[in-house]
Symmetry: none
Subunit: 200 residues, 4 copies
DNA sequence: CATGAATGAGACTTCATTCAT
DNA sequence: AATGAATGAAGTCTCATTCAT
């Protein structure tokens, strides 16, 4: 994982948008090269192969989104519902961040030969998110039993994935309805689970 | 949508598994033809182009899953929680039905030039599912206000999509946990929404 | 080793001349295709890869030369010195037969990945020649001890290889001098070995 | 033929092994550069082109083998059979000297555009060897007629070439048998040619 | 219906070479 | 003396498609 040269980084950024929009198979190195202001063979001065470029792009996108997630959760106000901020910003993030679009497309349907690399990275990404959520949850409801926390962790990731899908469908209005429906459910469940126990 | 000849149907079935596993771009007409026991050019006796084959495969898969969904909801017992049966069978269905795998992969990331066809069909598919769910919901809770029904419709599709994603990830154990977490939420929310009003 | 179609045979013949003149690495499928009156991708309707084409060309050239060798030895007159006719025709054969030129070039310096295939075939080719020689030798000198026959077999192949090299150098005049020098040696050695014993 | 810098010499040595093992076409400047501890463009600080590098490698290899041949013949004992020592050491020399392997490969199948350079050098190399042989032969058999000497010169080079081929085939056991068979022939011929005339 | 043969377009990749630094 | 970056040419190979048979 040595750091990339500036040119290599630029290529990576472009590759990310191509992979995000077209997928791995339908992305052409020629197009990526031209979009990066060079000719096809010049790519090979920076990356040994299409796979290697994909690897680098994957790492970069993953790192970028991981940082974003951290910042999202760390900026949380004390009285905020755990994990809500992230979901509220998600739609905008998706539209603004090719990295996120690339991440989702790739996590869902990775090129077969790169599946291992992809799934390891993405699972860590989701796992970190669920940890941030449950930490925040425990902070708000210290008395919540561990089994309940575990259940809500699963529920939160389920919610995230559901929102991801709606983002992919690409209808922002429906996204907002889904966001609200999911939080209604999650909120109700939390209410019942914590009742007088939690905040009280 | 004229009916397909037996040969054309066989080709479609094979194409569906290829598209499901590899995606449109990475599926080769040659492989499909050989898997169907013929040579590549023979495909053109049945379909005008790769796109046309995709179209037919898409229609067939959609029809197949629509029938399945109908049967799933129609066999529902009276005291069953609305839409639960479908989600419980989903994991097995996914593993057994290339059509469903094809549907999801394609709905999420359709080949650009076929996006319109795909999204129209898939939205109808989801819409029908949500109607079946809400009909069953209204039957169980006749007094539930319309706005609540609408909200639960959104929630149910959100749940389905979330489960879809977990199926794509491919870990059956996690699927079961997610399934239970989502129904816990949905159940809690229903409980609160209906209270004494509903079944009582 | 299924028989080749006429087109495939034509391509093979052309490939043989290309491989003979340029070697495997420097031969381009594009050039071969054009020389065969078609475009590059059309080759792949006949051969799965460059290696496969090479394989076929190798088999064809080997078979061709094996037949030639057989005919050469079978047409031998009774009072002829064993194996002489073949060496006398060799220069002309080399000039006329791309197969032989291909055989030698390839036997001497095969593409690394095809070395096994090549050496097996060529060793059989040489071995057959040495058997034909020794059979003819034994017929002329029935009393020659087995160890001597074995030695002359080695000597004959050594002579053949030496002539091959001179053919590759490409100077017909020098070839004739070498041919005569080698037969002088072989003849002298035979004279001493058989003496009054042989023809008696 | 200005003398090479130390770096250039080092590159040449490496190039010789690459050319010997792979041939001109299949040898990559990149590989050679890396093996020499530098990057491809750095080669151009030492050689103007691949051809120029080949030229230099060729000259170096030729010089190296010429020196070896001289030393081989000059160390000859008085009662030794002319030229025998060289052939006896040949197998070991071939295994130890990339230069010799390069020489043979290149002499047999030079890259087309370099054929003139190659053949001139190699013919001189063989010619020198045959002169050393005939000088030694004349020393042993002063009364041998000139025509006979000329014939034996041709025979000796023929023997050398035959041994070369066996070295290329790469079977040391067969090499020994061939070596002995060839000297049996050469010795018999010499015996008959000199008879009572020579040493006596 | 099926296919053998052909093909234009385009995929990834390697190569020898150049040039500014 | 060395190299990172770039590139035109060319390499092998795959693909969807067409057409005569």
């Amino acid at each position: 994982m040595k750091p990339l040269s500036p040119s290599a980084e630029r290529i990576c950024v472009i590759a990310i948008t191509h992979f995000a929009e077209r997928g791995y198979d339908a992305s052409s190195l020629n197009d990526i090269a031209v979009a990066a202001g060079m000719r096809k063979p010049s790519l090979y001065a920076h990356f040994a192969s299409k796979d290697a470029l994909f690897d680098a792009a994957w790492s970069m996108a993953l790192a970028s989104e991981q940082i974003y997630v951290e910042s999202c959760f760390s900026e949380m106000a004390d009285d905020e519902t755990a994990g809500k901020r992230y979901t509220q910003l998600l739609c905008q993030r998706y539209q603004e961040s090719p990295s996120l679009r690339f991440l989702l497309r790739t996590a869902f349907f990775p090129p077969v030969e790169l599946r291992p690399i992809v799934s390891v990275g993405f699972e860590a990404y989701l796992e970190r998110m669920s940890e941030l959520f449950s930490a925040s949850l425990v902070k708000s409801y210290p008395l919540l039993p561990g089994t309940e926390v575990a259940m809500f962790k699963d529920a939160y990731i389920a919610v995230i994935d559901s929102l991801h899908v709606e983002l992919i469908y690409g209808n922002p209005q429906v996204f907002e309805r889904r966001l609200s429906a999911l939080w209604r459910m999650l909120g109700d469940s939390l209410k019942l689970a914590t009742g007088e126990v939690g905040h009280g």
